[in-house]
Amino acid sequence: MAAATFRIWRGDAKGGSFHDYPTEVSEGMVVLDAVHRIQAEHAHDLAVRWNCKAGRCGSCSAEVNGQPRLMCMTRLSDLPLERPVTVEPMRSFPAVKDLVTDVSWNYAVKKRIKPFRPRPPDSPDGTWRMSQADVDRVMEFRKCVECYLCQDVCHVLREHQMHDQFIGPRFLVHVAALEMHPLDVEDRTAELREAHGIGYCNITKCCTKVCPENITITDNAIIPLKERVVDRSYDPFFWLLRLFRRRAKTR
């Protein structure tokens, strides 16, 4: 067994600092294993969120050597162990304690997005018919494990703190999954433009780079949604339609 040092951020909403923990490492270990070992041996009250330990639940998000990662899927063999491995919480969310952050904002955002609304069933027995190709189109978005690493790196949220005006990449993916759902008939373009703030995304693709599920967030979800919004907003037909509606309302 080799040894390695983990430089873990410990603290809470009031502040904190890095602490060094040396520990033994063995073949195949991931960062979460090391954190657990440190917790069991040195720091019983070290706070960390985790569940499945297989990259499927998206609980153990953190920043490892400055990179947003799922700790359970980050192998120590891929990290330079000759210097300390830094492990810190996601920085775009308020600190709760140690590696745990307050992600409740994400749950509040999701509630604001118009839910799924299907077309009437295709068959008298109340079921629908869909082709595999139509299902495959949104499958990519539905793989999302809600780890919020994309929210963590999005500079609209991280640097500009525009949480009240922009829903972030995770929820643009969610809207894309709904909008492109083969059965969904709801229209979310007005909200996308206004309340969801899709215009703030300037396609730097940072979110795509960190997605542990390899969802092509920017190209496959956000850009097509932006196109939808543009089509709706600047299409002369819809422009006239809106104009008439507005007139009718003011009357």
């Binding site: 809470d12 063995s26 073949e27 195949g28 270990m29 991931v30 294993d33 917790q39 069991a40 019983h44 009250d45 070290l46 706070a47 960390v48 969120r49 985790w50 569940n51 499945c52 330990k53 297989a54 990259g55 499927r56 639940c57 998206g58 609980s59 899927m73 192998r75 709760v96 304690k97 140690d98 745990v100 307050d102 992600v103 409740s104 749950y107 999701k110 509630k111 839910p115 799924f116 299907p118 069933p121 109340g126 079921t127 629908w128 018919r129 869909m130 082709s131 595999q132 299902v135 949104v138 499958m139 539905r142 793989k143 494990v145 809600e146 709904l178 759902h181 083969p182 059965l183 969904d184």
Partner: protein
């Protein structure tokens, strides 16, 4: 108690996996005010790990399928210890529950004519599992979560229930703490639904996450409910074995459903060497026929790899024990061989098993399209749980309901793959429905302040001990010792003497647990949480061991080296445990309910 906040509800649901969410949705739809309490964040429960699919006799792929076949398969899989009524309701209602998920936005893989596609799985006569790749559980939980959040259900994330509260004979609420600040609170409810899942953390090698400490089992037991079939712990035959840090992580049965084969180090498909009598008629006797079955040939019988999980797990243990295992103490599971049979096999595997491809590539440097995997048994599922009424899911205590893995009855001595996700939505819905009805039929109960005080004092004791002594037991080490002991002494193959030792060990660990000390404060203190979970783990470990000692035969998932055959008389009883007045765990038996004659006939016809 005066200073504790009190949340007033009609229905309190504990646990937010498939069963808890479905129960909360149903109770809410029926007008009840619902609180949903879960130990983790919403959407992270172990349901996300379910890979294979949801068993439901939709008959989209094979028109010969119907609820009767599903019923008979479930009973056979459970070695007839199942509650027949639950198996009937489950088989009849699962298709409707699956279609309902689709109406709420779930997307499943499709048949060529656009209906829900179904795949093969162990113990199911026909392709029956509605699925989406190998991430069906995520699809289910996300669908329920996204549907539920728009229904006005109040969700308390990262909250843990410490004790149920009783007014006389009836459950009237619970005491809980929240992880973030460590504050205590009271839930005052007219009905409580337990949907806390499994007990995998009682063992060292498990596919379960930290949450699965048998909380619902222990809460119900402490409240006076009966736990049934606790000797039946399912060891999934295929968990990862290498590298050590990932040992236990599940490898879906879907790999075998798609044509994956099990081989020992000599390259032999050992599953064909031992096919149980009960399954001889439905199992292929040659590799060629088995392959045709996995490719949808309706005339072919299933390959031996798709026998029930208990049997496959034992065959793997035998191969390993007799020196024919793989280098890291497992056996080989190979899907890459289908290259010999299918064009574009690599893409096919990645499309059908994307999660598995990803998991092995990232965690073990194995490309499953080119190399075999190494697998071995892992503690996966608890067939036993709270004994409930089959129609209403109410336990033997008034106002207390249980659904999903923490309930008992549907699966008998062994659960079929795919029957868990369907169990969650069928009985989750029923529990929610009947809890809401119970709530509207009953006035609010009185919250007993002495019970609240006792629960909070007990929960805070580890801090008091840390303050008054310098030593004290460490929570993690105590938990680990229990896991090692259960793994070694009450595992896949059991013996009287070993289990007696385990029981003795559990009682000693219980004393040690009373001395566990926790340092630090109450804010998100994982050490404290581990100390509190220890109580539940010890209760379920004792229940498993006592029940396993009591059943002197081998049946389904319960295998005893000293009683290797079935005993017909024991096939007519279920084991139950309950707490006596003086606080001991008492083992008793209940006759297996007599199957209704028309269902008896279905079983006979399909034997």
């Amino acid at each position: 108690m005066k200073d504790l906040p009190v949340h007033e509800q009609d229905v309190l649901v504990v646990g937010a996996g498939g069963a808890g969410l479905r129960a909360a949705i149903e109770a809410s739809a029926r007008g009840a005010k619902v609180a949903l309490v879960c130990k983790s964040l919403l959407g992270k429960a172990h349901t996300v790990m379910a890979e294979g699919g949801i068993a439901a006799a939709l008959a989209n792929v094979d028109e010969r399928d119907n609820w009767k076949v599903h019923f008979a398969d479930t009973m056979r899989g459970g070695q007839y210890l199942n509650d027949w009524r639950m198996a009937e309701l489950h088989a009849k209602e699962a298709p409707e529950r699956v279609r309902e998920l689709e109406a709420w936005g779930a997307l499943f893989d499709r048949t060529p004519d656009g209906r829900i596609l179904q795949r093969n799985f162990g113990g199911h006569a026909y392709p029956r599992l509605a699925h989406v790749g190998d991430r069906t559980g995520l699809e289910m939980i996300r669908t329920l979560q996204d549907h539920g959040v728009h229904m006005g259900i109040e969700v308390f994330m990262e909250h843990t229930v410490l004790a149920l509260l009783k007014d006389g004979d009836r459950v009237v609420g619970a005491v809980a703490y929240e992880r973030e600040r460590g504050r205590m609170m009271v839930f005052h409810a007219r009905a409580v639904v337990l949907a806390t899942g499994g007990i995998g953390r009682a063992y060292r090698i498990t596919s379960n996450s930290w949450e699965y400490t048998g909380d619902g089992h222990a809460l119900a037991y402490e409240a006076g409910a009966e736990l049934m079939d606790m000797e039946f712990v399912q060891f999934h035959p295929t968990g990862m074995v290498w590298p050590p840090s990932v040992s236990g992580i599940l490898v879906t049965e879907g790999v075998r459903g798609e044509g994956g084969v099990l081989r020992n180090k000599d390259g032999r498909r050992f599953m064909f060497d031992d096919i149980p009598e009960l399954y001889k008629k439905q199992t292929a006797d040659n590799e060629e026929e088995g392959w045709r079955y996995t490719q949808g040939d309706k005339g072919a019988r299933r390959p031996a790899e798709l026998l029930t999980r208990d049997h496959v797990a034992r065959c793997i243990v035998r191969e390993i024990k007799e020196g024919r295992g793989s280098p890291h103490g497992g056996v080989f599971l190979d899907i890459s061989w289908i290259r010999e049979r299918l064009p574009h096999a690599e893409e096919h595997i990645k499309r059908k098993l994307p999660g598995m491809y990803h998991q092995f590539k990232q965690l073990a440097d194995i490309d499953i399209t080119k190399q075999p995997m190494e697998v071995g048994p892992t503690t996966h599922y608890m067939m036993g749980g709270v004994r409930v009424d089959p129609d209403t899911q109410m336990s033997t205590v008034a106002g207390l309901f249980a659904a999903g893995e923490c309930g008992a009855g549907l699966h008998g001595a062994n659960r079929l793959g795919g029957n868990s996700l369907s169990d969650l939505i069928v009985f989750g819905k029923r529990a929610g429905e009947h809890a809401a009805m119970f709530a509207s039929d009953h006035a609010v109960g009185h919250i007993p302040s002495d019970q609240v005080g006792a629960a909070t004092r007990r929960a805070l004791a580890p801090f008091d001990r840390a303050a008054s002594t310098t030593g004290g037991e460490a929570p993690y080490a105590t938990q680990q010792q229990l896991q090692d002991m259960m793994q070694d002494l009450v595992g896949i193959v059991r013996r009287e003497a070993e289990m007696v030792r385990a029981l003795d060990g559990i009682l000693q660990l219980r004393e040690r647990a009373e001395r566990v000390a926790v340092r630090g404060n109450r804010e998100y203190n994982n050490g404290w949480h581990t100390a509190l979970d220890l109580g539940s783990l010890l209760t379920v470990a004792e229940a498993i061991t006592r029940s396993a000692l009591h059943r002197k035969e081998s049946r389904g998932a319960h295998y005893r080296d000293d009683f290797p055959s079935k005993d017909a008389a024991l096939g007519r009883i279920n084991t139950v445990v309950r707490k006596t007045r003086d606080g001991r765990m008492e083992v008793a038996t209940r006759p297996v309910p007599k199957t209704r004659p028309d269902l008896e006939q279905i079983i006979a016809e399909m034997k």
